[in-house]
């Protein structure tokens, strides 16, 4: 039953953009039908997914024959698939509501219909990815998802930087797909069937299992954006429309995580380097991701790098679960995977929240530059409130949901590090625990910088001065996501209970053997503390609000230390706030600075500019590709023009093939 509900939802999602594509361009009806279809599909699919997660329904599968070579349409749903379906449905529906005001059809005649068509297809493709139970179906769904994502990123294709970002995304996603072709080919070789999830390897030799792990992690990691495979992520997130960024970051990255979770479950007792690799990759992504985030000038790029950091945290949790399987400690598996999957859910709540809020700012101020904003807390108070909720949640601070998932991973790592039982796993866990602590601290620094520069102080440009809160269609999704963040924050045990069935689907033995989560970590006590904290925050906020209403206020400028003429440009900028951290990570970020200092008695005007090129993309891959292109330019001589010459090439190739086959 639940599978049919979910498949119906998938179908509705897939066609949601179609009416709009057929209607007249100026008509707003297409936009509304798309939003209504999206919301209906989300409710239907949500019912199905919850039925799976709460155990009202058995895991199901459908196998139907298909007129394709090796074709078999096999889909199924279990608790793990259902868990990943939830964010897809929620963010897709909320995003389509947000888009009603953010990407109005009347303002975007050329791109609106295309965006909504790709939006529905992307959501349907992602749903099919988690439902697929056959390698071929999986790869097809993966490709549908990747291409729909490309069209979404390229929405504003009139801008050259958008085209560039979309192209980088397209190349990266196809490299990933290539790795997945290798992965599923090897899997077919090892298991003898195209059936997947659970894919049983049987007596696969260790080199084959290792190759499977490496191709799988690279292929799925490219989608998830783990460092150094993140090359496409910042550009695509920054240049896509904001609700698309929310969908990409909140959900599309999770498709990669879903794949990594499935790969991690291939072997019942994986070699310990599998888990250690994920722990190290996760730590590196986390620390470098957030370090890059601190250094950004563009707030959407900053949020994109922070997604890389969060994917790192999730990968750490998966790595811990794998170490637990290797060492035979079911409680590590439960803590690591519960934390990791809960963080998947949480990240798909607070990151879309932040991207929606960023979209509201962009919509009002028309700039993504942190250093030309400022003082928005006064002019956009509702957006500010939503942004604060998102920022607290993403930093993993109580009383919101980010804290709940990160503390589970902490507890797992510390338990491993302290009581590793003489195994070598404790080294990795101890290192990862330190990394996770550092990530948390840097994240706080990063978001203080962002909040301070964007919302506090005085406006740095007229654009920021005239920014106003958006309308209800854009605020409602924000409020909804903020509410979910708070609910999971004060009821982590309930959320962990929902996730527990997915953990049980991943490793039933460990789930059965381990102590209950409550025994491992007193979640209800944490919940009580968090509820108190949240209550205190709300009470304090209410008190301040009432106090400000009662008292009469006189507005005066801040005391300016005796300067005669202060200007908004004299404030600390976001870059100057982040400079300490940027310098600390200078060895990895390699910032480029252009400084013209004051010199001599009659100095010329001075200036300072800095930028942080991405180390992997801008310093590594692009120069390499440029060199390759120069090398290949020599082959351009072959392109002469006359048809006759090309036909000679065809003839030559034909004869060469004939000779080759003869030989």
């Amino acid at each position: 039953m639940s599978l049919w509900l979910i498949l119906t939802a998938l179908g509705l999602m897939a066609i949601s953009g179609l009416p709009g594509a057929l209607l007249a361009r100026a008509s707003p009806a297409g936009q509304w039908t798309a939003a209504v279809l999206n919301v209906c599909a989300s409710i239907l699919g949500g019912v199905g997914a919850f039925a799976q997660l709460l155990g009202f329904d058995e895991p199901q599968a459908i196998h139907a024959s298909w007129a394709l070579p090796n074709g078999r349409f096999a889909v199924g749903v279990d608790a793990l698939s259902a868990l990943f379906l939830l964010p897809m449905l929620l963010v897709s529906a909320l995003g389509s509501i947000f888009g009603l005001a953010y990407w109005k059809q009347s303002e975007h005649l050329r791109t609106g219909g295309r965006l909504r068509l790709s939006w529905g297809i992307l959501t349907a493709g992602m749903m099919l990815v988690v439902l697929a139970r056959d390698s071929i179906v999986f790869l097809m769904a993966w490709e549908i998802m990747a291409l729909a994502g490309f069209f979404l990123v390229a929405t504003e294709d009139a801008k050259p930087e958008v085209r560039r970002a979309a192209f980088v995304y397209l190349v990266a996603t196809h490299v990933g797909t290539l790795c997945l072709f290798a992965f599923f080919g090897l899997l077919r070789f090892a298991s003898g069937t195209f059936d997947i999830w659970p894919a049983t390897l049987g007596e696969a030799p260790s080199w084959l299992a290792g190759a499977l792990f490496i191709t799988g992690v690279i292929g799925f990691g490219l989608k998830a954006g783990l460092m150094p495979l993140h090359v496409w992520l910042p550009g695509a997130h920054a240049n896509a429309p904001s609700h698309v960024s929310a969908l990409l970051s909140g959900v599309l990255l999770k498709a990669g995580i879903y794949g990594i979770v499935r790969v991690a479950g291939l072997l019942p007792d994986p070699p310990s380097w599998w888990g250690a690799t994920l722990l190290i990759a996760g730590s590196a992504s986390g620390i470098l991701g957030i370090a890059y985030a601190v250094a950004q000038h563009d707030f959407k790029r900053l949020l994109a790098y922070s997604s890389i950091e969060n994917m790192g945290i999730i990968a750490m949790g998966i790595g811990l679960a794998m170490l637990g399987r290797t060492a035979g400690h079911p409680e590590w598996v439960v803590l690591g995977l519960t934390g990791s999957l809960l963080h998947v859910l949480n990240h798909s709540l607070f990151k879309p929240l932040l991207f929606f809020a960023a979209g509201s700012i962009l919509h009002a101020a028309h700039t993504r530059e942190i250093d030309s904003l400022g003082g928005l807390a006064k002019t956009m108070p509702r957006t500010f409130a939503a942004f604060v909720v998102g920022a607290i949640a993403i930093c993993g601070l109580p009383p919101l949901n980010g804290f709940a998932s990160e503390i589970l991973i902490y507890a797992g790592l510390l338990r491993t590090a302290a009581g590793g039982g003489g195994s070598e796993q404790w080294v990795w866990a101890a290192l990862a625990a330190v990394a996770l602590a550092a990530i948390g601290a840097l994240a706080v620094g990063c978001f203080v910088k962002l909040l301070g520069a964007v919302f506090a102080g005085a406006p740095r440009s007229p654009r920021a001065e005239h920014a106003r809160d958006p309308g209800a269609a854009m605020l409602a999704p924000l409020a909804c996501l903020a509410l979910f963040c708070a609910v999971i924050g004060v009821a982590p045990a309930a959320a962990a209970g929902v996730v527990a069935s997915a953990v049980a689907a991943w490793d039933p033995a460990a789930h059965a053997a381990s102590d209950s989560l409550e025994a491992l970590l007193p979640l209800s006590a944490i919940a009580a503390i968090e509820a108190l904290l949240l209550g205190a925050c709300l009470a304090a906020g209410l008190a301040i609000y009432r106090w400000r209403r009662i008292r009469s206020w006189i507005r005066v400028p801040t005391w300016d230390c005796g300067y005669l003429r202060t200007s908004a440009r004299m404030q600390y900028s976001g870059s100057s706030f982040g400079q300490a951290l940027t310098l600390l990570f200078g060895w990895a970020l390699l910032p480029r600075r252009r400084v013209i200092a004051f010199e001599g008695p009659f100095p010329r005007p001075a200036s300072f500019a800095s930028e942080i090129p991405d180390a992997v993309l801008d310093r590594g891959l692009l120069p390499l590709c440029a060199r390759g292109a120069r090398l290949m330019a020599r082959a351009r001589k072959l392109q002469r023009g006359p048809v006759q010459v090309y036909l000679v090439y065809v003839l030559g190739a034909l004869l060469a093939l004939l000779l080759f086959s003869e030989w």
Partner: protein
């Protein structure tokens, strides 16, 4: 039966050399038409017993390759007011020599293939190779667009001869495929000719190089 097939194919091979050597476009078209008529007779010889299918295929081939397409080409020759001479990139005699060399190489090559015994005795495979090569030579060594069309036609003829081998195994699909392919090809190139004669006032494919990036 085999001897009559082989006799027909020898005529086809001789026609190939004639097509490479002639300097008049009208003669080129006539040669292609005769080759088409010969090919049209072939399905009848390949089918041992009486059946409607080879007759249909033979009739369709005769009509299309023997009269409709050459007629279209002759009309194009008249309407577009093309000079009646072939303009070769390589001289006529060298192309003829290349064609002869190609025919020899095809026969040598065909003997090395492991063919079914009933096909090994006939000239079908070498004739097919040689005709494809002739088509390629015409395509690569002639300048005028109309002689290129004839090149494609000859190339398709070579593929048609190959198709004879599959006539028993999967007759309908192969033959219809070949005919359709041919028809579409001629259609497209006719349109191209039309455009060239109207837009550029020339049928010289060297002008197409301006399309180069």
């Amino acid at each position: 039966m085999i001897s009559s097939i082989n006799a027909l194919l020898v005529v086809v091979l001789l026609l190939n050399l004639y097509l490479l050597g002639t300097s008049r476009i009208r003669a080129l078209i006539h040669g292609a038409a005769i080759q088409g008529i010969l090919l049209g007779c072939m399905p009848l010889l390949f089918y041992e017993r009486f059946a409607p299918l080879p007759i249909v295929i033979a009739l369709a081939t005769l009509v299309l390759k023997g009269s409709v397409i050459p007629g279209m080409l002759l009309k194009a020759l008249r309407d577009a007011q093309i000079k009646r001479e072939v303009e070769p990139l390589i001289g006529l005699v060298p192309t003829m020599l290349l064609g002869a060399l190609g025919t020899g190489a095809s026969i040598a090559f065909a003997t090395r293939l492991s063919l079914a015994p009933e096909h090994a005795e006939t000239l079908v495979v070498p004739a097919a190779f040689s005709t494809v090569l002739t088509g390629f030579l015409l395509l690569t060594s002639r300048i005028k667009a109309i002689s290129q069309v004839i090149g494609y036609l000859i190339l398709e003829n070579g593929i048609f001869i190959f198709g004879m081998l599959l006539l028993e195994a999967m007759p309908f699909v192969v033959e219809l495929g070949v005919l359709l392919d041919l028809f579409v090809g001629i259609f497209v190139v006719s349109i191209i000719i039309h455009h060239i004669s109207r837009e550029f006032a020339s049928l010289d494919t060297r002008r197409l190089t301006s399309l180069k990036e």
